[in-house]
């Protein structure tokens, strides 16, 4: 599903963000990517989402290689990989339903199927009763559920979540984590970046990869 092979990423000003990192995430796995801020978690997520290219090494995601994929073909990767952010990145001034429908519309879903599918996705994240509400009027937890519904719009193989609970209180965090587990239980791989070690410990059945100053220092699957 995801395979990083000797990946390094050097920025002109910030210097070395990732240093010879190699790991894999297989089908149906749930993996936490942990580390202090500045350890390279977000850079890793951006490389997996093909928003950036590695300076050296190779990133393979759902069959696409960073060495071969062009800007023109990025959309193919994006439809296989859902992405959830800490700050939700929803379109303000639009309803929860419209935000999910937007993702379906711009990726070419047949017009007649858009609203029923968006409603099904909101049902899946438990937010159908709030479908008509402007996203700005929703709580943080509810906004993140909309973002997850949007990420699932194209039936991805893999869900990337970059600090998805960073802005949420404990109760909302628990709800979102339960949702991720449900999604994972249906067979979708989940890679979640977080610096919250408490959260990681409370989900002991998930694999853990730890980064420190751009280097991979721990992979629970390898001991």
């Amino acid at each position: 599903m995801i395979k990083l092979t000797h990946v390094s990423k050097q920025y002109p000003r910030k210097g070395l963000a990732l240093d010879d990192v190699s790991f894999e995430v297989g089908k149906g796995e749930f993996v936490f990517l942990t580390g202090h801020s500045g350890s390279g978690k977000s850079t890793t997520m951006r490389l997996i989402h093909m928003a950036e290219q590695p300076t050296s090494g190779e990133v393979r995601v759902t069959g696409y290689s960073s060495a071969a994929v062009s800007d023109r073909d990025i959309w193919k990767v994006r439809r296989r990989v859902g992405y959830v952010f800490q700050d939700f990145r929803l379109l303000p001034g639009r309803s929860a339903l419209d935000n999910v429908a937007f993702a379906l519309e711009v990726t070419g879903s047949p017009p007649k199927e858009i609203v029923p599918r968006a409603q099904r996705l909101l049902t899946q994240v438990g937010l159908l009763p709030r479908a008509g509400a402007d996203v700005s009027d929703l709580s943080g937890g509810e906004q993140q559920r909309v973002a997850i519904a949007r990420a699932l719009a194209n039936d991805p193989y893999l869900l990337l979540a970059d600090e998805p609970t960073g802005n949420l209180d404990e109760r909302a965090t628990r709800g979102i984590m339960d949702l991720f587990w449900e999604i994972n239980a249906k067979g979708m791989a989940v890679l979640m970046a977080t610096h919250d070690l408490e959260l990681v410990r409370s989900f002991s059945q998930a694999a853990v990869i730890e980064l420190d100053q751009g280097k991979l220092v721990y992979d629970s699957r390898k001991g």
Binding site: D71, R72, I74, W75, K76, V77, R78, R79, Y83, R89, L91, P92, F102, A103, E105, V106, T107, G108, P111, R150, A151, A153, N154
Partner: protein, 284 residues
């Protein structure tokens, strides 16, 4: 469908911005239109003058009729020549009397006719270039009985210089203002893109194709360009009416030119917005 809806939505969402960019494009293309109007009328005037260019071969008095006939036939056979007219000494005198009555005594009956006989060579339409004139003159100089050849050499050369200057400056000015129009649309589109950067970001995030993202902006740019083109057409026509009514009679530019102007406005709009969105997509 999405592209059409969003392309038109720009005019509803930011009518001042899109209206202003159309107006600016209209003004830039109006300058191109004025230049076109001037260039077209200059061309018409030059063509009218050029049509009057003809080559006159003055013949010696002792030229035999058979030699004249041969020259008429040979000159008439040249590709550039429309026709050759023989003017006898008597005809020349009659013409002079008619055109220059103040010299009536000089040309009075009974006195010696000082005017030479001549061959007036009329050029074909479109064959008034200096090269064509020179070919006719070169043929004329071969004949030993030709005393002198006049063809307004200075005029012919000057006309071609003026025509060339007109064409070059029209191309440069037209190109410069077209570039200005493209830059204006590009800048307006950059603002429109900035206003919708979150949408574009989400589109990229969820896997919309670049082409899908680009389409509404291309349409918006093309519409702004077309509206600008229509405005330029209207302004140019008003300027034409004003000059025609209050200054002097001029001709309206051919309809094909108007079509080209409108098409270029639309195309510039689409290209400028295409470049802007392309640049933006590389950044997100």
């Amino acid at each position: 469908m999405y592209a059409v809806r969003e392309g038109f939505a720009a005019f509803r969402r930011a009518p001042v911005l899109t209206g202003l960019s159309s107006a600016m494009v209209g003004l830039a293309l109006f300058v191109v239109g004025l230049f076109g109007l001037a260039a077209y009328n200059l061309q018409l005037a030059l063509t009218a003058i050029e049509e009057r260019v003809e080559v006159v071969l003055y013949l010696r008095d002792d030229t035999r009729q058979s030699e004249i006939d041969l020259a008429v036939e040979e000159l008439g056979g040249l590709a550039e020549v429309q026709g050759v007219r023989y003017i006898s000494k008597r005809d020349a005198l009659a013409q002079a009397r008619e055109q220059l009555p103040e010299f009536g005594e000089l040309f009075s009956e009974g006195s010696v006719n000082p005017l030479p006989q001549s061959l007036e060579v009329e050029l074909r339409p479109g064959a008034h270039t200096s090269e064509a004139v020179r070919r006719v003159v070169e043929t004329g100089t071969i004949y030993p009985f030709v005393e002198d050849i006049q063809y307004g050499q200075d005029w012919v050369d000057k006309l071609f210089v003026i025509r060339r200057i007109g064409a070059v400056s029209a191309a440069i000015m037209g190109g410069a203002f077209a570039l200005v129009a493209a830059l204006i649309i590009g800048t307006a589109l950059r603002i429109a893109i900035f206003a919708r950067r979150e949408e574009i970001y989400v589109m990229r995030l969820v896997g919309a194709t670049n082409w899908f993202i680009r389409r509404p902006f291309l349409l918006e740019g093309a519409l702004a360009g077309m509206l600008g083109g229509l405005l330029a057409w209207l302004l140019t026509y008003l300027a034409y009416r004003a000059v025609y009514t209050w200054l002097f009679a001029i001709a309206w530019i051919p309809i094909a030119w108007v079509g080209i102007g409108l098409a270029s406005g639309t195309l510039f709009g689409a290209v400028a917005s295409g470049l802007s969105i392309r640049r933006h997509l590389r950044e997100v």
